[in-house]
Structures are given as structure tokens and as C-alpha cells.
């Protein structure tokens, strides 16, 4: 297990790329090629199958695009600017964290859990977005009470860690701190939890680890409703942080009340044949 204080190298920021040159980045499972040709940018990317790959490699200069089978996009531009900008972003849909083992929050308890979600990477040139791609493409899932009403989300298996010191540190994942308070008289079973990731800001701590804005969920006494609060800034546990990217979809209110089913659910049974 990697130590909590192990620094994670930063892969984002400005990169000057003169014409007829390019660069490659390996950010976790994502391999990215960017080449600056005459009046155009070429971007190619490929994903490996390992979602837990947290390696980072900046291989530097690229003389031509790879010959291997890579999906390449070309972006023509009349701008002569040679500055490339890479920016980490939160996922573009909510992420349903599925607990590896059933996790119960006992009545009257307040706990703090840590979950991680893959980040997206936005590539910009001349202040314009070229691509906005995941560092790892999570599987799609449906979150809803039935197959008619619900929302399309990404899924992620989570260990639901309670101790931040044993959190694996990966360059392509952002950690979300979730405070859960169960005021009801029965245990709260955390089986599938929908994290509204697009509504959260992204921060980086001193060690280079990415964090999202933290969340608080308070289950009401009657057990059916939950008050959700988007806390200001990153969690205190992250220490000093700086803002990396704003939320994709800002929410007008930081506190809202939702039916508990809209945030967490038991695993649905598949419809019969």
C-alpha cells in the first residue's frame, strides 16, 4: 500500500508544443498522444483494461503520431499559438459507488467515508477544448427505482474506506470525503451510493492528490428522506488545497433534501425474461 504522504506527480498545466512536435502522456490507464502539425492539432488516445493502474509517465517529445491502432481526432485551427493546456475534470455523469461488501451505518452514528472516482482530462489549445476524455472509462449503469425512471450513471466498485491514511493514491482518481449521519432508528445500508460528481469542484493537495468538494448526507429520523449538503471547499483532511477545476454543472443551492432512494439504493433485481 502506498503511503499517505507519497507525492503524486502533477500531469496538468501548460505545455508549450512547437509546430511539428508533440508529446505523450500515460495517466493511469489512459495513453494520450498529442501532435501539433501545421495549422492543426492531432489527438490520439487509448485505454488499458486495468482501472486500478495509477502509474504516470510523461514521455515528452513526439515526432509523429503512433502507427498502432489508435483513434485519432484532428482539429484544424488558424491560430498560431503553440500552448497546450491539460486540465483534470470531474466525471461528466454521476458515479454510483457500489460497496464491495455491504456497509451499515448504525442508528445515531456519524461516520466519514472516502470514495474515489476516475477523473476526466480536458485538452485545450488556444483556449478551446479539443477533447474531454476519461482517464478510465467506467461501465455505464442505471440508477433508479425501475427501468423506466432513473438516470444513466457510471459505476465504480468501492471499498468504502474509513481511514484516509490507507487510501491508495492514484494520479487519475479523485477522492471524495462523504460524511454520513444516520438519525433514523434502523441501520443505514450503503449498498449503492450515487455521488453527484458533476456538481463538485476539483482540488489538489500539497502532495498532488486530487480531491473533490466534500459531501454530507444526513438521514432524517423517519428514514425516508436525506438532507444533502455540498460542503465548501475540499475536506479538512486534505490539508491545504488549491482549486484545479470548477464543477461541470454548478448547483444553485448547496443544501437540498432528497428522497433517500435518489441517493442510495439496494441492488435492483433484474427484470424477468
Amino acid at each position: 500500500m502506498e503511503e499517505r504522504t507519497t507525492p503524486v506527480a502533477r500531469w496538468w498545466g501548460n505545455f508549450p508544443v512547437p509546430p511539428h512536435e508533440g508529446g505523450t502522456w500515460e495517466i493511469g490507464p489512459l495513453r494520450l498522444w498529442i501532435f501539433h502539425d501545421t495549422n492543426e492539432w492531432r489527438v490520439g488516445h487509448k485505454h488499458s483494461d486495468d482501472p486500478l493502474d495509477g502509474s504516470l509517465e510523461l514521455q515528452g517529445r513526439l515526432r509523429r503520431m503512433p502507427a498502432e491502432e489508435v483513434k485519432i481526432h484532428r482539429f484544424a485551427s488558424s491560430e498560431k499559438e503553440s500552448l497546450l493546456y491539460l486540465l483534470p475534470r470531474v466525471a461528466d455523469r454521476p458515479v454510483v459507488s457500489q460497496a464491495e461488501n455491504a456497509f451499515h451505518v448504525m442508528p445515531g452514528s456519524e461516520v466519514q467515508v472516502y470514495l474515489s472516482t476516475p477523473v476526466w482530462i480536458e485538452v485545450r489549445a488556444n483556449e478551446q477544448t479539443l477533447v474531454d476524455i476519461p482517464t478510465f472509462r467506467p461501465s455505464d449503469t442505471w440508477f433508479g427505482s425501475n427501468t423506466i425512471e432513473g438516470e444513466l450513471c457510471y459505476t465504480s466498485i468501492t471499498m468504502v474506506r474509513l481511514d484516509q491514511n490507507i487510501l491508495p493514491r492514484r494520479c487519475n482518481r479523485a477522492i471524495t470525503c462523504l460524511r454520513i449521519k444516520n438519525r433514523a432508528k434502523d441501520p443505514l445500508v450503503l449498498d449503492r451510493l450515487k455521488l453527484p460528481v458533476p456538481n463538485l469542484s476539483l482540488y489538489v493537495d500539497r502532495t498532488g492528490q486530487l480531491w473533490t468538494q466534500s459531501l454530507s448526507v444526513e438521514r432524517a429520523e423517519d428514514g425516508s428522506m436525506a438532507k444533502i449538503k455540498l460542503d465548501q471547499g475540499s475536506p479538512d483532511e486534505a490539508g491545504h488545497t488549491e482549486l484545479v477545476s470548477p464543477p461541470r454543472t454548478p448547483v444553485p443551492k448547496n443544501v437540498f433534501v432528497r428522497a433517500l432512494d435518489a441517493l442510495m439504493s439496494q441492488t435492483n433485481e433484474s427484470d424477468q425474461c
Binding site: D140, T141, T147, R192, E269, S270
Partner: protein
């Protein structure tokens, strides 16, 4: 034989083509033309005004009712300009309507069915539906018929009456959809292992939904092996991709032996009488 002399007819035509009558006719045509232009402009304006608050079908119906009502008023005004008494015309139209009603009862049935269809909203423009043996995208819902564009780019017109009286399958109604795949394995295979292989194929594919979970169903015991249904869920937009990718993965699993191919059992019995002959 004509009932009046040719000379009288020429008088009648010359009377009709008199300068005064031509002016009346021009005024009447002007009123009709202006009325139709106003009807068109008003219809476009009302269509734009309700665009955000109505579905495409509702918008279309409101626009058509508006246009035809205004066009009828313009025609009535034009006839009044010509000096034709509308009350007499309406009286004659009553009889004519009865005759027309008998002659066009299919059209009337389609028209009424169209209104029911629009009210029921079983499908909207751009939905994919299966109806009367045709699968295609709805390109327009009109008062008499629904027009489909099939996937091989054919134009299909389905009368509303038929749509109302038969079942319609709307493939686009819900955002997610299940794809059913059928395969057969030998009786001596471990079905639990095959289930694990299939579920892991689905889990590895990002466009197959994790929830609702894939379904593994033993359909029955066939002549040549156990029939299995494996169903995955995916979004409407990824349906073909997911289905093809999973089928390709299953084929690969058959090829590399992860899922054993069912053996073909064929028993050949020779006829001894034929051999003797």
C-alpha cells in the same frame, strides 16, 4: 341538343367577361390570396409561440387547424366578394357533406384515429417503432397517416386507422433496453462456469449496464444441448454496439475454448433394404 341558341351563349360569355365582372373576380382573388398569406403568417407565428410548450405533434395539429380555419374564412370572404350567397351554398353543402361522408368514411376514420393517436402519444416524431411488420423511425404524424423511414431507407405510410387498431412496439420510449442473446451448450458442461464467463464479459464492457444486472436464464433442454438466454442491458443509443460487441466476445470465447462449442450430434441410420438392393 343545347337548350339555348349559340347567340345567347356568346352574350352570356361576353357578359361574364365584362370589365366590371373582371374587377370583381380580381378583388375576390386578391381577398383569397391575402387571406391565405395571412393564414400562413399567422400559423407560423402561432407555431413558434407554442413551440416550447408543446410536442411536435401538438404543434403540427394546432398549426393545421389554424391554417385551414383561416383558409376557409378567406375562401368564404372571396365567395362573398363574388356575390355568392353563402347561406345557399351552405345548404347545398349540407347535402354534399352527406354524400361526401359516405364516400370518404375511410378518410374520416383515419382522421379521427389520428386525433386519438396524437392525444394518446404512444410515440412521437423520431421514435423508432414496429408497426404492421415495418420497423422504422417516425418522420411525421399527420391527421390521416403516420410516415416511417425504415432502416433500409424506405418510406412507409401507415394509415392512422390501422395504427389505432393494431399493436405498436415503441423501441425508443424508455432510455434503456435489454438485448437477448441465445446460445446452446452441451449437456455435460458446467453451467455455473459458463454463467461466470458470460457475466464477466458483460462486466468488462463499458456500454453494458452494471445495473440492471445481466440475466442468465436456462431456457430449456433441447435436442442438441441446453438452450441458454443471456440478456444484457444497455442504453438505446448503444444498443447495436453492445449487442455486437458481446456477440463478438462470445464468439471469441467459443473460439478459444472458454465456452466449449456444442458438439453436433447426428445419427446416420442406413436402410438395410437399400443396401441389399
Amino acid at each position: 341538343m343545347l337548350g339555348f341558341p349559340l347567340q345567347s351563349t356568346s352574350f352570356f360569355v361576353s357578359d361574364l367577361l365584362s370589365w366590371e365582372n373582371l374587377i370583381v373576380l380580381a378583388k375576390s382573388l386578391f381577398v383569397l390570396g391575402l387571406g391565405l398569406i395571412i393564414a400562413k403568417l399567422f400559423t407560423e407565428a402561432i407555431g413558434s409561440a407554442i413551440k416550447r410548450r408543446s410536442s411536435p405533434q401538438q404543434n403540427m395539429v394546432v398549426r393545421r387547424i389554424s391554417y385551414y380555419t383561416l383558409a376557409a374564412l378567406a375562401a368564404a370572404s372571396a365567395l362573398t366578394e363574388l356575390g355568392i350567397d353563402l347561406s345557399v351554398l351552405l345548404g347545398a353543402a349540407g347535402l354534399f357533406t352527406v354524400a361526401l361522408g359516405f364516400a370518404s368514411r375511410t378518410s374520416a376514420s383515419n382522421l379521427i384515429s389520428g386525433l386519438f393517436l396524437i392525444g394518446e402519444q404512444s410515440f412521437v416524431v423520431s421514435d423508432i417503432i414496429i408497426c404492421d411488420g415495418h420497423t422504422g423511425e417516425v418522420i411525421s404524424i399527420d391527421l390521416l397517416s403516420v410516415k416511417l423511414k425504415t432502416f433500409d431507407n424506405r418510406y412507409v405510410r401507415v394509415p392512422n386507422e390501422k395504427l389505432l387498431s393494431s399493436s405498436i412496439v415503441n423501441l425508443s420510449r424508455f432510455p434503456i433496453r435489454r438485448a437477448d442473446l441465445h446460445l446452446r451448450v452441451d449437456y455435460d458442461e458446467n453451467l455455473e462456469e459458463i454463467k461466470d464467463v458470460l457475466i464477466s464479459l458483460s462486466n468488462r464492457n463499458p456500454v453494458c449496464l452494471a445495473e440492471p444486472e445481466p440475466l442468465f436464464l436456462i431456457k430449456g433442454f433441447g435436442e442438441y444441448g441446453v438452450d441458454i438466454q443471456f440478456s444484457i442491458w444497455t442504453t438505446q443509443t448503444n444498443y447495436i454496439t453492445a449487442r455486437n460487441q458481446i456477440q463478438a466476445e462470445i464468439t471469441k470465447a467459443f473460439a478459444d475454448g472458454t465456452i466449449p462449442l456444442p458438439k453436433l450430434h447426428k445419427l446416420v441410420v442406413s436402410d438395410p433394404l437399400e443396401n441389399d438392393a
